[in-house]
Symmetry: C2
Subunit: 503 residues, 2 copies
């Protein structure tokens, strides 16, 4: 222990009381040891909390910490009422942690001599890897053998519905993974990206069978959203998105059926593309709903988003739209929350609005959901029939609904979708439409299901008409990520990628 | 930014100057912003530094930090001369960091208004995984399919000279890995541990061809030593040892030819066993020197060390030696540094010393090194002949020496080793000998080669006579890890494991 001035009376007792409360999961005692002020701070690997209320909520949720012991303590005494303590800890299950606390003495308080923590910064030993984000990860997991390709040096986070040779496809479901065969070949998209020089960093978590938009996998936990702490990562390409947002990989390879690229990209501030239906071969992909399934990817830059497209997309002539050609659709912007709507409007202030208000949008969404559900059960019903209880609650509810969709209902939905497709294609024409990628910023887990219908009203349009959709990151007034969705006619994927790189 | 009292004059300018110096790698400016006191503190994921001198050395070595920007700043003003700043940072390559700084104003200093950092705690975004420790890692990488085995719930860190089906054996060498075939079967030991319920967490780093004792892989960096910050992890089973010390895995599976289990275990405060020569099948192991190669493993508990032995070792009747039967060998303890010798003597104060002073120990060591080198070149010379330049400096020097060993020299060494073996076996008899696992605590990288001969004089004994050797963690007076080595006659592996569990 290093110190110059004498340690003030009661400080070390309070420090020990804190450790003791932490080790015994005494939430009330911990709570009382944090200063009850709106400026109290608590920072850890998950982010920074401000104010005693937020800190209390964390303590309540955590209920304590892994067992550990303090191996070094250093006190910097500032005055009789203030001191900083920096301590090193040995975790019982291995690894070294650090904690810094600024302590202040409130002369009015009796407990612990009035000593309380006004700021805490905690570092705990990192696990081998974050299994909420990854299933398997390597340096690399699969190397490229193309040293000088267009994507050399880039790393892939492959969504766990996409085949990587030598590994089973896990589909975010432990029960599925247990019986899944080892893939003997890479998915076509993976093979092409390897040929172009990218290596596979690892296999990233998805929600079960990619049938969700929140990213809240019931078995492995939700990948964190590093750009919006405490909010969902967005799904179903959640692990790929978080891996890219955290810099674990540069390219998040995934799939998008009803928004599974666009939503996590929007929630985490990434660029993303859902390709035109059928534009990129789906060989090696576990299907969800074949009529809508597409390959997609996410990056931290528009440049890299486009570079991946140069590898995966059919070689077509690019006709880069100008910013002037973008037509914001006010009726669709109006479906978003005010903060997202403001971000969209702020991003394209001079865009000419497109006067299109699909009156039957809710009917389209319902038909899309029904059509997707029918196909999802066709793809997985035989296996899931006796295993619905292996699924997490949200995805199970979705598959239970899917199981109940009759052939007649599916036919009816198909008819609605055919009409919708015709209208959407006509409206899009040779335009580039702009609207929100998701209806809101990333919600909290508690609010996640409540925004699903709103977001699906927006994301289903590209799904129904097989359109390419690029999402460009925006920030709301409060600094949270949001997504600007740009769509165009089927096959114009490269045009949209060029436009995003120009914006 | 939250604050109650006004921020003191000049503080934020100093804070910004620090950030600017960090981003421009201005080491002198950074250095001047840390208080030049023996109590100045700097903590990060690698540990805690105390005193300006240590902090300066870190700044000099790091030369800066990854590019990032501050996204939130919170100042807690203590008085006119003291304030804490806690800031959140966004790393350019993804992820969120945190830094806490206690600032103090020295009225005598002019620069930056006298403001200096007296304590800093920095958290940077964690990478996908620590590629110094692991080559590939998963949740799990290979699952067991034995839900209720003796080792269910345990996880293996498999040294990268041991085959894991579906992966190549990388041997710590990028050049070797590039041409190595994918293993179609698990090594026998891996298969047995999987059958017993353990899963494979991942493939852990080793030094090239397991031909070293430091753990300093020239290509992937040295795994950290969490129990002795700034010191080498010990090799060659370095990644497996660090993985276990950090809690990334519970069992570090490796090999020991001349100390490659015992040395990292001793340096990192782990239990470890080098098995009797031939006791555990070596099927699926990349050889280094077949006459001495053995399977070994490391754990954080004696109980688990023994449980693994129950799976891998031949089923023999166990005759647990008592503590009284341990015979400390003063002549061998005397080969260690005083702090390690004191730890050994302190651990067994009542043990009857064994009066054995092998006069020709240095000759034995030399013969062991020669015999090992001859076999190592026989195993790898054909491939390495044209590829010595792919090796890191230390291992290359060793293989260059190995290449020059003549058949005559090898024969001569073999004769010396035969005599040594006879003497060692006779001395050991039915005793349990105790001496240091390594001659010193973990050295720094700069000192690592200088302790090699001293440690080899101790570790070669078990190698020469094919003895089982268990290492039990001790601590020196200053709290650094050291190892107590217990050896017995060949085949008494289970007896030693039982003894270690009883100590």
């Amino acid at each position: 222990m290093t110190q110059l001035k004498p340690v003030p009376h009661g400080l070390l007792q309070a420090f020990r009381a804190y450790e003791s409360a932490l080790m015994s999961h005494d939430v009330a005692a911990l709570d009382a040891l944090y200063a009850s002020s709106p400026t109290t701070l608590h920072g850890d690997a998950d982010g920074l909390l401000v104010g005693h209320e937020q800190v209390s909520a964390l303590l309540e949720a955590d209920g304590g910490a892994p067992q550990r012991r303090i191996v070094q303590t250093h006190v910097q005494v500032i005055d009789d009422d203030h001191a900083l303590i920096l301590a090193a800890t040995d975790a019982e299950h291995g690894g070294r942690g650090l904690q810094t606390q600024l302590w202040a003495r409130d002369p009015v308080r009796i407990e612990h001599g009035g000593w309380q923590i006004t700021a805490a910064h905690v570092s705990t030993p990192a696990p081998a890897f974050d299994s909420r984000i990854w299933r398997v990860v390597g340096d690399p997991l699969i190397s490229s053998h193309t040293p000088d390709g267009a994507l050399s040096g880039e790393t892939l986070a492959v969504k766990d519905v996409v085949a990587v040779a030598g590994f089973a496809v896990g589909a975010g479901s432990p029960a599925w993974l247990e019986q899944a065969p080892i893939s003997s070949e890479h998915a076509a998209a993976v093979a092409q990206l390897l040929d172009a020089g990218a290596s596979v960093r690892g296999i990233a978590r998805t929600e079960e069978f990619a049938y969700s938009l929140t990213g809240l996998n019931a078995h492995y936990g939700a990948p964190p959203n590093p750009r919006a702490q405490g909010r969902v990562p967005g799904g179903s390409s959640a692990g790929s998105a978080t891996a890219v947002a955290l810099g674990h990989a540069s390219i998040g390879l995934g799939t998008d059926t009803g928004g599974s690229i666009r939503v996590p990209a929007a929630y985490q501030g990434l660029y993303g593309i859902r390709t035109s239906h059928g534009a990129v071969p789906r060989t090696g992909l576990l299907p969800l709903a074949k009529a809508f399934d597409t390959v997609g990817w996410m990056t931290r830059s528009a440049f890299l988003l486009q570079a991946v497209g140069d590898v995966l997309l059919p070689a077509t002539a690019v006709s880069t739209p100008t910013k002037d050609e973008i037509r914001v659709v006010p009726s669709l912007v109006g479906l978003a929350t005010p903060e997202v709507a403001a971000a969209i409007e702020g991003a394209l202030p001079e865009s000419e609005p497109l006067d299109w208000s699909p009156q039957t949008l809710e009917e389209w969404r319902e038909a899309f959901v029904t059509g997707q559900a029918y196909q999802a059960w066709q793809a997985h019903g035989a296996w899931l029939e006796t295993r619905l209880d292996t699924l997490g609650e949200a995805v199970r509810a979705r598959f239970e609904t899917a199981r109940s969709v009759t052939r007649a209902q599916a036919d009816e939905a198909r008819a609605v979708l055919a009409e919708a497709r015709a209208e959407i294609l006509e409206v899009v024409g040779d335009r580039v439409l702009a609207y929100p990628s998701a209806s809101s910023v990333a919600p909290t887990a508690a609010d996640a299901e409540s925004v699903r219908d709103d977001t699906m009203r927006l994301t289903c349009l590209a799904g129904i008409a097989g359109l390419p959709a690029v999402t460009v990151p925006l920030r709301t007034a409060t600094g949270l990520p949001a997504g600007l969705c740009l769509v165009a006619a089927p096959g114009r994927d490269r045009d949209l990628l060029a436009l995003a790189a120009d914006l």
